[in-house]
């Protein structure tokens, strides 16, 4: 999985490419854990992301919890499969999808 970081003022965009699963989730966890200080808006761009597994959901949930305290989190361009996963797992209720 490829993670591209774009910083604009206090906005951080993480563009993910590939699969966010058990194997790649630790990669994203390393980018989120302790690295969101000062970030007001966290944007996940899922344009090129094929799939999110439960391990990936856990990281999104962790990020959401952090952003609930300091700003907002947006998930953009998720494909139909991923939106399905968000729906089935109830994540669509806690995530802001665009």
């Amino acid at each position: 999985m490829q993670i591209t970081k774009t910083v604009e003022n206090d906005n951080l965009t993480l563009s993910l490419e590939g699969r966010l699963d058990t194997l790649t989730a630790p990669q994203l966890e390393a980018e989120v854990n302790g690295k969101l200080d000062g970030v007001k808006t966290l944007i996940f761009d899922f344009q090129n992301l094929a799939y999110v597994s439960s391990a990936g959901l856990r990281i999104l949930f962790m990020a959401q919890k952090i952003m609930n305290k300091q700003g907002k989190m947006i998930v953009r361009n998720a494909n139909a499969d991923i939106k399905d996963i968000f729906t089935v797992t109830g994540f669509s209720n806690i995530l802001t999808l665009e």
Partner: protein, 508 residues
């Protein structure tokens, strides 16, 4: 695990450093050897040149000495004035310290009579002496070749008189008719050259000392490296022994986990609980299968019968390995405890969620589906905590259970769960699975997906037993992934509701 990697990295670092030092030493050794060999060769070449020069010089002296003397010798020989002739010979030796002696040998005719005379310098006294040549000089190359050539240098030979290596310049003495009548020979010693050679070898020995020292240092270093390597190998084998131990423990953990999953034969144990007229095993048949991606996995399922109801669940803890296994064990225990008192799936999930969420700092959570099947009526109540929709195979038709999804448990303590209800007809089969099935991936990174589940079920027609259904599904997945590495736990649970054949089955 970390320690072994650390040790390995350290071993590799030591090897690299040692190899570098060895390389540097070898390079130093190479260059110093090369330069010392080069200087020795240079010295040898210079000596060779000077030796050649010296030899050429000595040769020139010898040749000139004879050339000058020959006319006088020829004249005196023709006159038969032997005394004067001998004095000329003595004069040559005296005037040329480079020569050790001069031979005068008359040509031996058919009569075989030899007439030879040898003038030489006594090395001890320094005086000039002469003597008649006693031996058969006709065998000597200076005589034989001297007759044939107009001036000839012999190959170096060992002198009988001086026991040294020397070379003789032979020159013919002629009569007035130009015929050779005698051979005049100048003996030149080669000892100067011999001495030079010895000195050369001594010098070479000197220059070998640092080279040998460096080589010894290199060997010492090599020995040290070998010692370190052997020690590293020993350590690695210790580490791998530790790893074996961990693997064994993981195998045991896997056994424990497998033992936690109920066996379908356990249905018999619930026999007495339904009613006097019908056994539980006549109402339902259950099959479960689990293939963990790692030695221990995070998937789970469970079922038990209480008060004529089948309580079952299937779930998936996010992630894999030991952390997931720990959460899975806890979830299983909590399900048994909560479901022993609670009949509503939504309330079971709610209670489980509260316990799982409290103090969950790691963010680990589980998707879980809970169902309660009334064995008497076929009424199925269910609730989902973020879990995939189970399938119901009803005759030739296939449907998925519909519901409003609740959150996976362990995320939000105050999450809400909802009960849903459906009728399961006798002969219907419920198939539950984790995302290890829908998200099984083949070599081309395609997912198995729900459509392939539907296709696999439709392709094989009716299933006699739940086990048959699971076997069919396992084969379909195996054929799809075609040897690609299993990335997630694959867990399935199938329940066949046979219905209530006893008309007087007690209704709850």
């Amino acid at each position: 695990m970390n320690t072994s990697r650390h040790t390995r990295i350290r071993s590799i670092a030591v090897l690299i450093v040692a190899a570098l030092i060895l390389e540097v030493t070898t390079a130093v050794q190479y260059y110093s050897t090369r330069s010392s060999v080069a200087s020795v060769i240079m010295e040898m070449a210079q000596r060779d040149v000077s030796t050649i020069n010296r030899v050429a010089e000595v040769k020139k002296i010898a040749e000139n000495a004879l050339h000058h003397a020959v006319p006088e010798v020829e004249r005196l020989f023709a006159q038969g004035d032997r005394d004067s002739l001998y004095r000329v010979l003595q004069q040559i030796v005296r005037e040329h310290p480079e020569l050790v002696g001069v031979d005068f040998a008359c040509k031996v005719g058919d009569d075989g009579k030899r007439d030879g005379y040898f003038t030489f310098r006594n090395e001890e006294t320094g005086g000039i002496q002469d003597t008649i040549i006693g031996f058969d000089y006709t065998e000597r190359s200076w005589y034989r070749e001297g007759l044939k050539h107009n001036g000839f240098w012999t190959e170096p030979y060992m002198s009988r008189y001086y026991v040294i290596l020397m070379s003789t310049f032979a020159y013919p003495v002629r009569n007035d008719k130009g015929e050779v009548v005698a051979i005049l020979g100048a003996d030149v010693p080669m000892h100067e050259l011999s001495a030079m050679t010895v000195q050369l070898y001594e010098n070479m020995n000197h220059s070998l000392v640092p080279v040998i020292g460096l080589q010894l240092l290199g060997l010492l270093l090599l020995g040290f490296i070998m010692f370190r390597s052997i020690r590293s190998v020993r350590r690695l084998s210790e580490v791998s022994a530790e790893k074996d131990l961990i693997n064994k423990e993981l195998d045991i953990a896997n056994d424990i986990q497998t033992a936690m999953l109920p066996d379908s034969s356990q249905i018999h144990e619930f026999a007495g609980e339904v009613s006097g007229t019908q056994n539980v095993k006549d109402c339902i048949d259950i099959a479960g299968s689990q293939v963990p991606a790692k030695q221990v996995g995070g998937d789970f399922y469970d079922f038990f019968v209480r008060d004529g109801k089948l309580f079952f669940n299937i779930g998936d803890v996010c992630g894999k390995g030991i952390p997931a296994a720990l959460v899975m064990s806890m979830t299983q225990a909590v399900f048994r405890s909560v479901a022993s008192k609670e009949n509503s799936p939504a309330r079971i999930l709610q209670d489980m969620n509260v316990i799982a969420s409290q103090g969950n700092s790691t963010g680990m959570f589980s998707t879980i589906f809970v169902g309660v099947l009334d064995l008497a009526t076929g009424r199925l109540q269910y609730s989902s905590g973020g879990h995939d929709r189970p399938f119901v195979i009803s005759g030739g038709a296939l449907r998925q259970l519909e519901f409003k999804p609740g959150f996976p448990i362990g995320i939000m303590e105050n999450a809400t769960y909802w009960d849903f209800e459906t009728e399961i007809a006798p002969g219907d089969m419920v198939m539950l699975y984790t995302d290890g099935l829908t998200e099984a991936m083949n070599g081309e990174k395609n997912l198995f997906g729900q459509q392939r589940i539907v296709d696999a079920i439709n392709a094989s027609g009716a299933f006699e037993t739940p086990k048959q259904l699971l076997d069919t599904m396992s084969q379909a997945v195996a054929g799809f992934v075609c040897g690609a590495e299993q990335s997630d736990d694959l867990t399935m649970l199938a329940i066949l509701y046979k219905g209530n054949s006893a008309a007087d089955f007690p209704q709850k």
